[in-house]
Amino acid sequence: MTCGIVYAPSYLTHEQSSSHPERRERLSYTLDQLEEEGIFDLPQIRLLTPKPAMRDDVLLVHTKEYLQFLEEASVTGAIIDADTYVPKGLIHDALLAAGGAITGADAVLNQEVRNSFVLCRPPGHHAGRSHGAGFCYLNNVAIMVRHLQQRGLRRIMVLDWDAHHGNGTEEIFYDDPSVLFCSVHQYPFYPGSGRFEDIGIGDGKGYNINLPIPAGSSDKVYRYLLEEIILPLADEYMPDAIAISAGQDNHFTDPLTGLALTAQGYAGLMQEMCILADSICYGRIIAVLEGGYSVEGGLPYTNLGLIAAMAGLDISAIREPEIYREVLEKAVSDEAFPIVIKMVTDLKKKLADHWYFIRQYDFR
């Protein structure tokens, strides 16, 4: 399996302010790790250089007014919300991030690589049609999804496993059955949305799946959601490609969130997704980096784990160093699992009309 890694040193240049958590340091240790592992010398890996997105690509998702605002704000500077400023020159970095997602998707569709991982900054999943939010400006994944559809793919599944709800992506595809949006996120938490009751509207009803989970949710919870919802959902939907909003702030060392996934858990999730993609959509997975703020104890190991899984490498030694064991023990909550089981039962009732895999066991 060849895994394309979309990366350019310019992905390090974006900076909202010198001390903002969505910072250059996020990728620096990861790159050290990848370089030290000799990742780019492996025959299973191909380094892809991102091309900036075109205005037309962006306009498939965002409004003209919003794009214009970003372009102008990139000259003057502006504030979108308490955590999201528009630093000068932003638009170049934002277009390169969205363009990176397109580069990764094109390489997959052109069969240059089997799947791809876009190591871009800034992230995108909180950005809606006409607004940015939560460190995000352009919705990289949504733009990539629309680009793929323009190239002829019909159905695309978006799995958003960032610890925060992907409210921007949800908004964009809420009424659209051609995009199955499925988000696993800490709840209640920023940005406040992401209730399991929100299943889409109009034609899109049933094609928006929220999986809110409590703080302390561990590998076990994610594995359960994967087997109980995500895999059967994908099997029934039969997407032409799977996009993953790969936020890595569910790692147990993340300072901004309260989830408790491990690097091995991440790698395992991705491995399952790759096996799934192999069976339903020619292995087409495009993973795009979203959040993730545990720069030292998390990101180097989770990013490596994801790439190893996507490239078909041995993931048995993907883990954090021993010094984090205590942190993990504190982060995991035993109360999380029963809450998640209850949530899944309720969600299934809500979705039974829309999905046969639920209906066949009759939950009503």
Binding site: S18, S19, D32, A308, A317, R319, E322, I323
Partner: protein
């Protein structure tokens, strides 16, 4: 006075340069000691030893036990406990009992020890070394941290190769130091290194011949853009020069990347000693008949065609037609390889260049010259080279740690990038000075890479991490110009 020695496949070349250039050739059969006797202990001595080392590298696979300390990440063979993080912190200790168990009853010829991120902290590799050294001598143990740069798999591979040749390098050092205690080795990029650095990373000396040829040809002709054709006893090497410098490429051995850069060269397995059986053979079977060997060679064929190299009468066992065919075949082979480079100009070096270069140039539809002392251009190149270095530096202002090629140096709190740069530049100069480089050669320090970023904890910038790659480029010593 500069003395250069290149130990080739057939002969050892010696060049002594003071007000004039003198060159000598000594057959390898006489032994290195005899060659060393011909030089005085006065002045600077640089030795290119690629041939004896290449023989080991390309020879039988050696029995090397590799101990890796990978910690979390991808899977590596030979793994033991212990882990250094990307910040250079020891995050998991080694288990001494585990190492001892490996060493007990160990019968490998040498041991390679490589830890992930050891270039940011060498402590774990050294702890393993301490245990291994109870069972093996220092000359049989190679560590990965002095290699300096990130890339664990390539470092493992290079360390294994280092373990294979370290013993030979150590014995060469002892042999040479009996004559000249302060000598230099020539590296694969054509720079010079102290024996101590060569012991730490022996592969630096791999395949140094093309580099010496490149430096020698440039020194003798000052031609900046050309193709050097070095016709030796065993092989013919094509070395392109661009702006007076050879081109560098990463050495790939046994199908895997090493951490070694070497001069780009095409090696064609025909030289003056290539023997003639029914046709010209791509190997040597002793010396040419004209130098007392048993089987006729390319050199003998040239003698039959009218040259007078050595005892030409002994070459007469070949008939004229065979000789003509063999020479023709050689010229065609070389000329077609030369054409691939589309050279504007050829420089011939090596002891047969005088006899063959004009014919090669004609067939390759270009022109060329054979400079004076061309026969020993490699030794001239060794003599005039300068000390060169490439160092990878990692500075972490939070840990107050500065590592330079894996070795911890005193950290200095520097206000800004400029001060940091001038501090580390001076460190590099000091290393080169201690190795014996003259001031003129270390004035210019190249910054090949500079990257620095802030460490942010809780919405505050708490520290700065900087990575640099600095180099003193290989080339010709200012003193020799």
């Amino acid at each position: 006075m500069f003395t250069g020695i290149d130990i080739g496949g057939t002969n050892t070349d010696i060049a002594v340069i003071d007000s004039q250039i003198n060159t000598y050739k000594v057959p390898n059969t006489d032994g290195l000691d005899n060659a060393l006797k011909k030089i005085s202990s006065y002045g600077r001595l640089a030795i290119s030893t690629s041939q004896p080392l290449n023989e080991i590298i390309t020879g039988h696979p050696a029995d090397i036990r590799t101990i890796t300390i990978p910690g979390p990440g991808l899977v590596y063979p030979g793994a033991v406990k212990g882990s250094v993080s990307h910040r250079g912190d020891i995050v998991e200790p080694i288990d001494p009992e585990e190492i001892k168990k490996i060493m007990k009853g160990q019968h490998a010829r040498a041991i390679a020890i490589a830890g992930k991120f050891s270039v940011r902290n060498d402590a774990l590799e050294k702890q393993v070394y301490d245990i291994v050294s109870q069972f093996y001598s220092d000359e049989q143990i190679a560590l990965s941290y002095p290699i300096g740069a990130l890339n664990f798999p390539a470092r493992i591979h290079t360390t294994k190769l280092n373990a294979r040749i370290k013993g030979k390098v150590a014995s060469l050092i002892r042999q040479i130091q009996r004559v000249n205690p302060d000598f230099f080795f020539v590296t694969s990029t054509g720079g010079l290194t102290s024996p101590a650095r060569a012991l730490d990373n022996s592969m630096l000396l791999f395949h140094s011949s093309p580099a010496t040829v490149a430096n020698g040809a440039y020194y003798l002709t000052k031609h900046e853009n050309c193709l050097v054709i070095d016709i030796g006893g065993t092989t013919t090497e094509l070395v392109p020069l661009k702006d007076g410098k050879p081109i560098f490429e990463t050495v790939v051995l046994e199908g895997a990347k090493t951490m070694i850069q070497a001069v780009s060269a095409m090696s064609i397995p025909f030289g003056g000693d290539s023997c003639i059986r029914s046709d010209l053979c791509p190997f040597r079977a002793g010396s040419s008949r004209s130098f007392g060997g048993g089987e006729p060679t390319l050199t003998d064929a040239l003698n039959v065609m009218g040259a007078r190299i050595g005892d030409a009468e002994r070459s007469e066992v070949l008939d004229h037609t065979t000789a003509q065919n063999v020479v023709h075949r050689y010229l065609e082979t070389i000329a077609s390889a030369v054409k691939e480079y589309h050279p504007e100009f050829l420089i011939g070096t090596g002891y047969l260049a005088h006899y063959l270069l004009s014919d090669i140039a004609e067939r390759a539809q270009t022109v060329g010259i054979v400079p004076e002392h061309a026969a020993s251009a490699n030794a001239v190149g060794a003599a005039v080279s300068k000390v060169s270095l490439e160092v990878h530096i990692h500075v972490d202002s939070e840990r107050k740690r500065l590592t330079l090629n894996g070795i911890t140096y005193p950290y200095k709190d520097t206000r800004d990038e400029e001060h940091l740069l001038s501090y580390v530049t001076e460190l590099v100069r000091d290393i080169a000075r201690k190795e014996g480089a003259p001031e003129e050669d270390i004035e210019e320090i190249e910054v090949l890479y500079f990257s620095s970023y802030d460490v942010v904890r809780g919405w505050r910038v708490t520290a700065k991490i900087t990575d640099l790659v600095l180099a003193i480029a290989p080339g010709i010593s200012v003193e020799a110009l």
